[in-house]
Symmetry: C2
Subunit: 280 residues, 2 copies
């Protein structure tokens, strides 16, 4: 996190970006937590997924996405992509000094530490996120004696994008990924959904993990962190009763697919005409 | 297909490209069919997958990949990516006149028409391939009375990349995608694997489809078409008994991942040191 600059216009939108549509689960939480705010969401659909790209490429792409949002006058940046937040947050802080900046990793790590009694925490995410190790490091900073197990679960991403959010396929895939995790003598008591695609699978996963295991995701805690940061910096919009948040959508490719698949993640319909195609 | 230019040096490599590693199933068939030839394989891993990108983006990416191979002196181009072959073959033929050029779609369509007695053919592929409709059109050109059903099966791609090529997960996913296809009164008798990732799932899929349904893929027939085209143009290398083909690998991102996941598709180990990182 970077401290906000007082004097930034309250009425500017909050910029949110992801490699594609998964970050819309974070946008949904932001809309719920910050009524009255306006959001500008960028999905870098021309280059998704980031999870299988090299760290150097992810830093370059994230910088281009953030630049596109900063040029459009946002008052804060939310990196709603676990891979980009893992690999590029420091580079973005250096590139945009003074811009309030929050990734999904630290809020997610804080949520996991808060619910885990034993300190044994499992993190599931894309291959890139798990290999980057940012969640593991963020949890260790908050609770040095934590024992963190990371598992790359790429197939969950495909299931979420296909809209297969429950049923026997999800159950079989979840058993294959997660059963070894809970089979040992000291299993985790918290399962952190370290990928913005995974909240749509949360109900199905919650039914499959052993009793007492808490599922946490970054969306709600990231939204709370953004609210706190804006309030601290004096650049939160002054909401009025009955205000609703508004969002606009940018994509670097295929607006029709963004709208169709994005509706799964945002939890409400998005029309293709609402999505502006841009180059970054 | 474009006619080859006589006089192109026989000893030059054959260029093969794909959005990533799936095209290595085609390369494996080419190596088997054309001993003595040398291959230069480019995986555009920085921008994979193509299957969810717009046609305009796919044409641009495919042209850049082909240019990189032509600059390196290849004597023929094989588009070992169903999405690129569906969207960009005409553009490549116009951009590289005289260069022998083969995509995977027409050979795959020919293979399906050859094995189907009823003319009822199912094609499975990425969302992009099925929506582009190139297989459907190629089959209709060969057999106008064919009845073609296309199904986008994105989750199969994730399973293949994860190396989950059999077992209960593949079975559940296959049932969900394919059971409706075979439930009706006039089911297909040929299942065309219209994605270069799918040959690694062929054994598992073959065990699940009803008896009498033939599975076909583009890899072997594409290799035969390349051999015929080179022979017709007089630019096949003159093999000697005991020759083995050689391949070199280029990738636009993450050579380590290319080597690791690519080994699944090529069917033999690829070392990260064998993969050259390039910009296109």
């Amino acid at each position: 996190m970077v401290a906000p600059v007082p004097g930034l216009q309250r009425d500017r939108p909050i910029g949110v970006f992801d490699s594609g549509v998964g970050g819309l689960t974070v946008l949904a939480a932001l809309e719920a937590a910050l009524p009255g705010e306006e959001f500008l969401y960028l999905g870098d659909t021309a280059r998704l997924p980031y999870g299988t790209k090299s760290p150097a490429s992810v830093v370059r792409y994230a910088t281009q996405c953030a630049s596109a949002l900063v040029e459009r006058g946002v008052k804060a940046l939310v990196v709603a992509c676990n891979t980009a937040a893992s690999a590029a947050l420091d580079a973005l802080a250096a590139r945009f000094p003074g811009m309030p900046l929050i990734g999904v990793v630290e809020p997610g790590a804080a949520a996991a530490v808060a619910v885990s009694a034993s300190g044994r925490i499992a993190v599931i995410g894309t291959e890139g996120t798990i290999r980057a190790g940012a969640y593991q490091r963020a949890i260790a900073r908050l609770r040095p004696d934590a024992r963190v197990t990371g598992i790359g679960c790429s197939v969950f991403v495909a299931l979420a994008e296909e809209g297969w959010t429950d049923g026997p396929v999800v159950a079989q895939v979840a058993h294959r990924y997660l059963d070894p995790l809970f089979a040992g003598p000291a299993p985790p008591d918290a399962l952190l959904l370290g990928c913005t695609h995974f909240p749509v699978l949360a109900a199905a996963l919650g039914a499959l993990v052993p009793p007492g295991v808490r599922l946490v995701d970054s969306a709600a805690t990231t939204a709370q962190a953004v609210a706190a940061l804006l309030a601290a910096g004096g650049c939160a919009r002054r909401g009025r009763p009955g205000d609703v948040s508004r969002s606009r959508f940018l994509a670097t490719d295929a607006p029709e697919r963004f709208a169709r698949v994005g509706s799964i993640f945002l939890g409400r319909p998005v029309a293709a005409g609402e999505v502006e195609l841009i180059d970054v």
